[in-house]
């Protein structure tokens, strides 16, 4: 698989969207060269606002713009945008269901060299528990760009989570993205891997390798964590009897949490969660090595599937 950067794609698609949607305004807490909103800034300087290093102010300004009928996109590092301005997102944006679009970059372990201060491992949990917010974690650059379009064209507040580093391409050209509708990437009957973000490509690799060992694993790209695609999950639980979730996020409260909550309500089947096991991040000079250290690998997914299949027998 080739590697492509989600944020580069985001920066380019944003310019196209800027031409189409004249009410689209980008609010930037002084990180446009990192989030790639600088391309938009060059072409639409009148609709680009660098408010300085102040995420709380940025979110509040976006709320005022949205309440005036504009479509503001606030884009910043996930750790600081979601972490620092969480209460502003809750009180000034989500509570009034304002049409603010939050594009958080550098999520998960992707700012690998920067270390724990920059590695946001609980943003999906923080965002999905807010009423009115939709939460999207795309698998690759193609899905990120389609998700961005869908997000702009939907009404209400939305959170899009992007990684900093180039990641494997899962979708060749297009993925017919629909908010809240998971992609069935590989059918299978023994167990289902429910993944999002960078873990989708690993899930596909794991399923491929497992098939050589006689295990037939289904792969769901659960790009929308909220609203969760309950019917795909229900079907997977019914037809394959066991689930493994995989995400570049804490196993508390993220995709694994959301899936477990849902599955325990209607059709309890075993769920194993691959993700960061209640830990802070740390520096590494290599992204793959860091992922590996926290157990985010094709191997861990395979092991989890094998265990869960064995336990069931």
């Amino acid at each position: 698989m080739d590697n492509l950067s989600q944020i580069e794609e985001f920066g380019n698609v944003l310019v196209r969207l800027g031409e189409k949607h004249r009410d689209l305004i980008v609010v930037d807490p002084d990180v446009s060269s990192s989030t790639k909103t600088l391309h938009f800034a060059e072409i639409f300087p009148d609709r680009f606002l660098n408010v300085g290093i102040s995420e709380q102010d940025a979110v509040g300004i976006a709320a005022g713009l949205a309440a005036s009928g504009k479509i503001p996109i606030v884009s910043g590092f996930s750790m600081f945008l979601v972490g620092r301005a969480w209460e502003q997102i809750a009180n000034s944006v989500a509570r009034s269901n304002l049409n603010v679009k939050i594009v958080a970059t550098h999520a998960g372990l992707s700012p690998y060299a920067d270390g724990g201060s920059h590695q946001m491992l609980w943003d999906v949990a923080l965002m999905r528990l807010l009423p009115n917010l939709k939460v999207i974690v795309p698998a690759d650059a193609v899905e990120a760009s389609e998700a961005l379009v869908a997000m702009i064209e939907s009404k209400g507040p939305c959170y899009l989570r992007l990684g900093r580093s180039p990641i494997p391409v899962v979708y060749d050209e297009c993925c017919s993205f629909q908010l809240g509708r998971a992609h069935l990437l590989r059918d299978g009957s023994d167990a289902t891997i429910v993944a999002n973000g960078i873990m989708v490509s690993m899930a596909l690799e794991a399923a491929e390798a497992l098939s050589l060992e006689g295990i037939d694993a289904r792969v769901l790209d659960m790009h929308t964590v909220k609203p969760l695609d309950i019917s795909s999950l229900e079907k997977a639980a019914f037809e394959t009897g066991a689930l493994v979730t995989a995400e570049e996020h804490s196993i508390i409260g993220g995709l694994g949490g959301a899936v477990s909550e849902a599955i325990s309500e209607f059709n309890p089947v075993p769920v194993k969660k691959i993700g960061i096991d209640d830990a802070f991040g740390e520096s590494s000079r290599s992204y793959p090595k860091l992922l590996e250290k926290f157990g985010l690998s094709t191997r861990s997914i395979m092991d989890a599937i094998k265990t869960i299949v064995k336990e069931r027998k």
């Binding site: 102040s54 102010d57 300004i61 005022g64 309440a67 000034s92 509570r95």
Partner: protein
Amino acid sequence: MPINSLINGISDRLGIPVDRLSRSVESLKDLKLIEYDESSELRSVELTGIGEILKRILIEGESLPEFLMVPTKSGLKPLGAVVKDVRKNILRMVAEAGSGHIGASFSTVEILCVLYFLKMKKDPKNPGWSERDLLILSKGHAAPALYAILSEAGYFPEIELLRLRELGSILQGHPDLRTPGVDFISGSLGQGLSAAIGFALAAKMDGSSRRIYVILGDGELNEGQIWEAALTASHLKLDNITTIIDRNYYQLSGETEKIKALDPLEDKWIAFGWEVFEAEGNDLKSLIRTLDASSLVKGKPSLVIAKTTKGKGVSFMEGNSFTNKAPSTAELSKAYEELT
């Protein structure tokens, strides 16, 4: 000479220098505000009937703004009476609800009354009118004052006031968009000025002349986001924002200067690039003059530090004794007496 007092009144009220007005005596004549005999070289200038009325509104009204007639749901009413009725309604509401911030509501009554009944472009029949001026009550705990005023202006029936903080009521404990006339949600301190910047930018982009008013509490200035926004608004030269600080010198646990000193407050905002005015915040005349002057500022946002008394209007409620409690029946009737 009557013409001088008229011109002074216009100058004062609108903040236009007298010399610029004096030169347009001919236009005053064209407007049929004055008449004079050409042959007597302006020695016999007299106000016309309309001029006389205008003078009364501008000058006498200004000196006694309590008697200014303002539009309410029940027709024209003197502003002074509106202020009193609003305070009485706040008392009734908080007593009925069993909790609420009387002190913080009382200190801001005159500010809100001047804004809603004199300054702002608003239409109670069409709360969502796109050209209306906007008010963000960032010190959201003064919601009872806002609600009492919105009801007085005719945004919703007065009976709703007694449902403050009740389950299913349109009147939440803090401002919420489910209330007709509320322009922005608040209740979490420190967030209103940032939202105002968003509204102000959108207005400039759309070529709208609407003005955005924000009311901050002085205790609220402890919040860091206020100062982020203060920098942003001045950096962007947002002269369509007027911020008013309800400077009552108290916050929840005591005096602002003992908890986290704010003074010299004026210097801080000047240093942040704002045009700063001071007003007596429970004095209608002072507020009208200051807000008029502040709306003429160009190229930067303006700030009015409105010196108020927390609990203003009822002697035993002044200070910090009614931060978030309802009056007893005895206190209520005593307070009523004082307000009548």
